[in-house]
């Protein structure tokens, strides 16, 4: 099993946000996580990635059977965990090219590989830019600086393509995308699917799931996964909203 989350409790400054999350993800699967605003979806993603501002108070996260809690943020990333941010950060002064070259080479070093020669690296960049149909010269610019909402999201998928993670968690990568961009992003994900990797997509819209067909859909509510099902659950949520789930929980 790629990811196994058992009874995970986590919070910030003494405030509990995740209240017993259980989730299992196998290689080759696509999982969708849906749920009302503020129920802890991004928090769950951040905790898996190792963000230090959140405290894990109970439970465990196993990744390939290893306890993730023991790994630093960067080591989790180097082991293949990728987080597509809901709000990608702007970093003035750091160009995407050098950001990616540093990242790719640090991951390679971790795996005992030599740094990618400059020419190979640039070819890889071009190939992955094509995959997400980035035509403009975004890569010479500072990371996310002055990017439109849609450009930022495309840039997240581009980075994912560069790093080829085993577990990609995409937090609302579809928000703010126009119809074409949505299709491009979804195609990008589909092309990167392999039997040995898995995707967890956090979304509010069933629409994305027309393009990226999930194997499982989960509803996160008040810090817990309260319902799981197949892709038809997303359709049902689209139609009925969350009220019936809230009632069930009450």
């Amino acid at each position: 099993m790629l990811l196994q989350i058992k009874n995970l409790h986590a919070g910030i400054n003494g405030k509990e946000i995740l209240r017993g999350v259980n989730l299992e993800v196998n290689a080759g699967e696509v999982h969708a996580i849906m749920g009302p605003n503020g129920t802890g979806k991004s928090t769950l993603a951040s905790v898996i990635a190792g963000r230090e501002v959140f405290d894990v108070t109970a439970g465990e996260i196993l990744y390939n059977g290893k306890d993730l809690q023991k790994l630093s943020i960067e080591d989790r990333a180097r082991e293949g965990i990728f987080l597509g941010f809901q709000y990608p950060v702007e970093i003035p002064g750091v160009s995407i090219t050098n950001f990616m070259r540093t990242a790719v080479n640090e991951v390679r070093k971790f795996k005992g590989l030599d740094p990618l020669p400059g020419g190979d690296f640039l070819r890889l960049m071009e190939e992955k830019k094509r995959l997400v149909e980035i035509t403009s010269n975004l890569t010479n610019r500072s990371v996310n600086e002055g990017f439109s909402g849609g450009e930022k999201k495309k840039n997240e998928i581009f980075q994912m393509a560069m790093l080829e993670p085993l577990l990609a968690i995409l937090d609302e990568t579809d928000s703010g995308l126009d119809i074409d961009a949505l299709r491009i992003v979804a195609n990008g994900v589909n092309k990167l699917r392999r039997p040995d990797n898995a995707f967890v997509v956090i979304t509010h819209y069933q629409r994305l799931l027309d393009y990226i067909i999930p194997d499982f859909v989960h509803v996160l509510f008040e810090g817990k996964i309260v319902k799981s099902g197949g892709k038809e659950l997303a359709l049902e949520l689209e139609e009925k909203g969350y009220d019936w789930i809230k009632k069930e929980q009450a």
Binding site: L83, P92, V94, T102
Partner: protein, 469 residues
């Protein structure tokens, strides 16, 4: 070891020294210059050295520096081999290099070079003898001896330093590099005095480096006057890489005639106590001055940038951008004072000072200050002080970049806003290298800012691949 009382820096010591050496000091003065010297001496006798009771020195306490004790020489100490001191492969140089050792001009061939295009550069002492009228016209007309005891003291004892003259309509084809090296076996007090004249429609790039070669304490009181004639262009770089026992009081006085333009870059990489007094006077309309600063301090280092911009004429623009990264127990002071006089309509003045504190014990005092006597102006000022952005750190590390490298990337990116303003490509490259080394704690104080040190034959290399971040 307690320093000898005679070696402490006190008002009495210098008054006494001046009175005993008055004739020697003024030996080559014209009447006018002798007058300037005497007035400066009177001024120093009244002012003495500044102390923390004065507003602009409130946060910079010199007592410890003063009490170390220093030798002070009224003559050059030794014959020096230019090649040896300035470890440069001169034939490959793309800049004209002039050197100062322990405050004295060091001659490569002749004390004063006169180039075919009319440019004169070399020893100020020599220029005083050879071109007294030219010197008289500019010398002492920019430095203000009444405001600050250090400037007055420098003028009173002024002997040698560097003189550069670019005549009207001449554009200096190469940057001029002025390397001021301190290298001595005893604690040393030094007072070079420089005079730079850029004529009307003329252009000069000047790279002024203050370097030390060993860890001996020193106290430099440098005064530089820079005149930029009408429509003239000055590109000025001040690079400071001194040891931790050094104290540097650098006062630069710019006078900008109508439509003159200035870019000045203050790059402080190392030093015990660095104080930069930067004064810009707009002496005619439509001038433009950009003053950039970056300082990277750690340990108990102290940097104090005092910028005063005098908008005395209409239609001038000024822009101050200073940024700093402070580690351990270091301290930075920024005091930006913009004066907009009554007649200076259409003034555009901007100031910004941003700092990153890497520890709880590093400190910053930032005081942008606008003094405006005219309504028709655009002014802005701002200052921020914070830590490295945690969101950015998480983002970088989430992509597999290690914590140390991520910090380095963010710090370099922060500094780079200033470094990218360097207009000479080789110098920019060199400073980028030095900034990276500095941030990694690997910069040596003996490392010079000379341009050719990073050549194809002698490439610089770094452990972390951060080339062109």
């Amino acid at each position: 070891m307690q320093p000898n009382v005679k070696e402490l820096i006190t008002r009495e010591r210098f008054i006494d020294l001046f009175e005993k050496n008055r004739r020697f000091l003024a030996a080559h003065d014209t009447t006018a210059l002798a007058g300037i010297r005497e007035k400066a001496f009177d001024s120093f006798s009244n002012l003495g050295f500044p102390d923390t009771s004065m507003e602009t020195w409130r946060l910079t306490d010199l007592e410890e520096s003063f009490n170390r004790g220093y030798d002070y020489h009224l003559r050059p100490m030794e014959e020096v081999d230019f090649q040896k001191v300035f470890r440069c492969n001169i034939p490959h140089l793309d800049t004209a290099v002039i050197g100062q050792l322990n405050g004295w001009y060091v001659s490569k061939d002749v004390p004063l070079m006169e180039l075919g295009n009319g440019i004169i550069m070399g020893s100020l002492a020599e220029a005083r003898k050879k071109y007294p009228q030219l010197i008289e016209k500019y010398y002492g007309t920019m430095a203000d001896d009444t405001a600050d005891g250090f400037t007055a003291l420098n003028t009173a004892f002024s002997q040698d330093g560097v003189f550069i003259y670019v005549p009207d309509n001449v554009k200096s084809p190469k940057p001029v590099q002025l390397i001021n090296v301190i290298h001595h076996e005893e604690n040393l007090f030094l007072q070079p005095r420089n005079l730079i004249v850029v004529g009307a429609n003329a252009k000069l790039s000047l790279v002024h480096c203050d370097d030390s070669y060993n860890h001996q304490a020193s106290f430099s009181n440098i005064v530089t006057e820079i005149h930029v004639g009408e429509n003239g262009v000055m590109d000025h770089y001040k690079l400071q890489n001194l040891n931790n026992n050094s104290t540097l009081i650098s006062s630069v006085f710019f006078r900008m005639e109508a439509s003159a333009s200035l870019d000045s870059h203050y790059i402080s990489l190392n030093g015990g106590l660095l104080r930069n007094n930067i004064r810009v006077l707009f002496n005619g309309p439509h001038g433009n001055a950009n003053i950039y600063g970056i300082y990277l301090m750690d340990r108990k280092q102290h940097v104090d940038n005092q910028v005063f911009i005098d908008h005395a004429h209409p239609g001038c623009t000024s822009n101050e951008t200073f940024k700093g990264i402070l580690d351990e127990n270091s301290r930075a002071i920024f005091n930006g004072h913009v004066m907009v006089r009554r007649d200076a309509t259409k003034t555009d003045a901007r100031q910004s000072n941003k700092n990153i504190l890497l520890t709880d014990t590093a400190r910053v005092n930032s005081k942008p200050f606008l003094e405006i006597y005219n309504d028709d102006v655009k002014c802005s000022h701002g200052s921020t002080t914070g830590q490295l952005d945690q969101e950015s750190m998480f983002y970088l590390r989430q992509r597999g970049i290690g914590e140390e490298t991520a910090r380095m990337l963010l710090m370099f990116a922060f500094a780079d806003e200033i470094v990218t303003k360097i207009a000479i490509p080789q110098l920019r490259q060199r400073i980028e290298d030095m900034v990276k080394k500095r941030l990694q704690g690997e910069l040596q104080i003996c490392e010079q800012c000379v341009l050719h040190c990073s050549t194809p034959e002698h490439p610089m290399d770094f452990q972390i691949d951060m080339a062109k971040i």
